[in-house]
Symmetry: C2
Subunit: 347 residues, 2 copies
Amino acid sequence: MRRKVTLKQIAKELDVSVSTVSKSLRNSPEISEDTRLKVQAFAKLYNYKPNNIALSLKNKKTKTIGVVIPEIVHHFFATVITGIEQVANEQGYNVIICMSNESFDKEVINLEMLANGSIDGFIMSLSKETQQKADYHHIMEVMNQGMPVVMFDRVTNEIFTDKVIIDDFSAAFDAVSFLIEGGAKKIALLTTVDYVSVGKLRTDGYVKALQTHGIEVEDKYIVKIEDIDNCDAKIHYLLNNEEVDAVFAVNELFAVVAIKIAKSLAINVPEDLEVIAFTDGIISKYSTPTITTVSQNGIKMGRKAAQMLIERLENEENYDVEEEIIEQYKTEIIETNLILRDSTKTK
Amino acid sequence: MRRKVTLKQIAKELDVSVSTVSKSLRNSPEISEDTRLKVQAFAKLYNYKPNNIALSLKNKKTKTIGVVIPEIVHHFFATVITGIEQVANEQGYNVIICMSNESFDKEVINLEMLANGSIDGFIMSLSKETQQKADYHHIMEVMNQGMPVVMFDRVTNEIFTDKVIIDDFSAAFDAVSFLIEGGAKKIALLTTVDYVSVGKLRTDGYVKALQTHGIEVEDKYIVKIEDIDNCDAKIHYLLNNEEVDAVFAVNELFAVVAIKIAKSLAINVPEDLEVIAFTDGIISKYSTPTITTVSQNGIKMGRKAAQMLIERLENEENYDVEEEIIEQYKTEIIETNLILRDSTKTK
DNA sequence: CAACCTTTCGAAAACGTTTTCGTGTTGAAA
DNA sequence: TTTCAACACGAAAACGTTTTCGAAAGGTTG
């Protein structure tokens, strides 16, 4: 077992000083070609690679990004991670991932754990519980320590920092308008409980679309679902008792459940019932019928978030003098579009 | 912006030495209660937290696990990560995640990047390309440096290390036997190309099951799929031209596509065609009909892998004298079971 | 031959910890 | 009064780098 070799060992072996070895490997002109080549050859032979931890300590930066998300078993978040990873790797950064499991406490712990020097900055999406409590002191805390934070998707107005989101409101508005213009009048909404920021925005978009087209918003058409495993009854009641000709679901799980229940009630999709879902994941693509969705480009979102964070990190270096960096925080909006599939009539 | 406070700063502020501060915070009996309390109060006030990087350098361990997987946008891998994260967090470890994107080169780069001190050990699953090339020198390399490696799911016999897998062969054997015992005779197999280790094993299990039950294995029933996006034609040909009464698919995507094609051919599932898929993911649970699957408990797999790695890491400490640790590598097998749903007749 | 400049290298500090060892002070025992 | 233990604390090394500064050796110039 040949353990990792250090500068000191190389220095001892070649009977030169540590500084000489370091300089040789970094091609310093201070060192004669003779010794430089000798050192480099030796280092190559022993497969020397500088120790990252030592570098981090010296440079006071780790070249590592911390990502805190509610869940990873969730197609959308997985795609965001993919995007983050892509640009992180392009720029020589590593990615540490932590999951809050939608828990406030876990989120706090994760932030604290990573903030102690392990990473240079955060990319995060709020847990449900955090949004519900509306307690963001832990995020303030790390930001006060000078650690940049980029939030995505589930964000809050109470924190001023870089954000990347989609325009949930407009996207919902467009999707519902599309249904209306296709002839639908009685459009139901399957949404989450209100404290989930994106669910709220999408609901608002739905309402606005109806109003704009002169359709009354009726409570009986709005189903708020807390837990996916117990939503069947509510949806069943809706489809069985109300005359619905379209459904707008704020995620694809709600949509696929609705379609399944419709089938069991001998309601044909899309002839008798049109369905549009938010979030384009694998389910929509492979279910029968395939589902028309609002694409929510996670990869693009992840890439953008990583770019914003890294840009801030690299700028910090230049403005090292702490000359009140132009703290202009930006909110980037990732465009969405409607992916037409078989759960809607108009093609 | 109140930057993180260090021992040195506390020491200066209180006019004591750095050692005194460190000892006070660690409740050393060397320090008088007076100064101890004073230091602790001050540290608490300034929210002192030891710098992880410095600790890592000193202790020569990072309390971080590196995970290298082919993709994260893949329900199975996402569940494994979830499992790894769970026990890692319980034991105070962080998790760095890298994706190989099924590329050999990327896998090599990731290993090298992480091996330079960033992590204490690896958990990994081989990329397709790596399995195809059967080139594992990069893994040997990090192992030679004394870094423990645990492989899961996509493993290789050529490397001796800890592994955690499911019994792909037996699981496939059982699933196909289940179909046979339910009355199916003409059972098709939708599988991957051979170099993917798990695909191969599942194929072998299928073959064995047929043979055991005295059914001839016929090539026309075996469809090898390279790319999910171009498999429609092959499956369509199979279902349209051969009399098939059951399909065994090595993953759920193949299964759901087969069901869709069956529907378009007016073949009813499960009456005319039974379907069983490997890997229990969300698709199987939400498709119509729901699909009977071989559960592949990713969480359990991830938890086990993390446990094995951490156990080895913590043991290293004790056997520090490098007394030829009992290098008994283990291969843990995670049990699978058949989850009966609506794509098969027998309940 | 003296003064000076290059070339080439090493010593040391720094990053933030922990830990070992040494040392000064105090009080009590002899 | 001397001796010694107990107590409380500080100095320094170590982890592995990079970088600044100083210095020795040799060569060049006037």
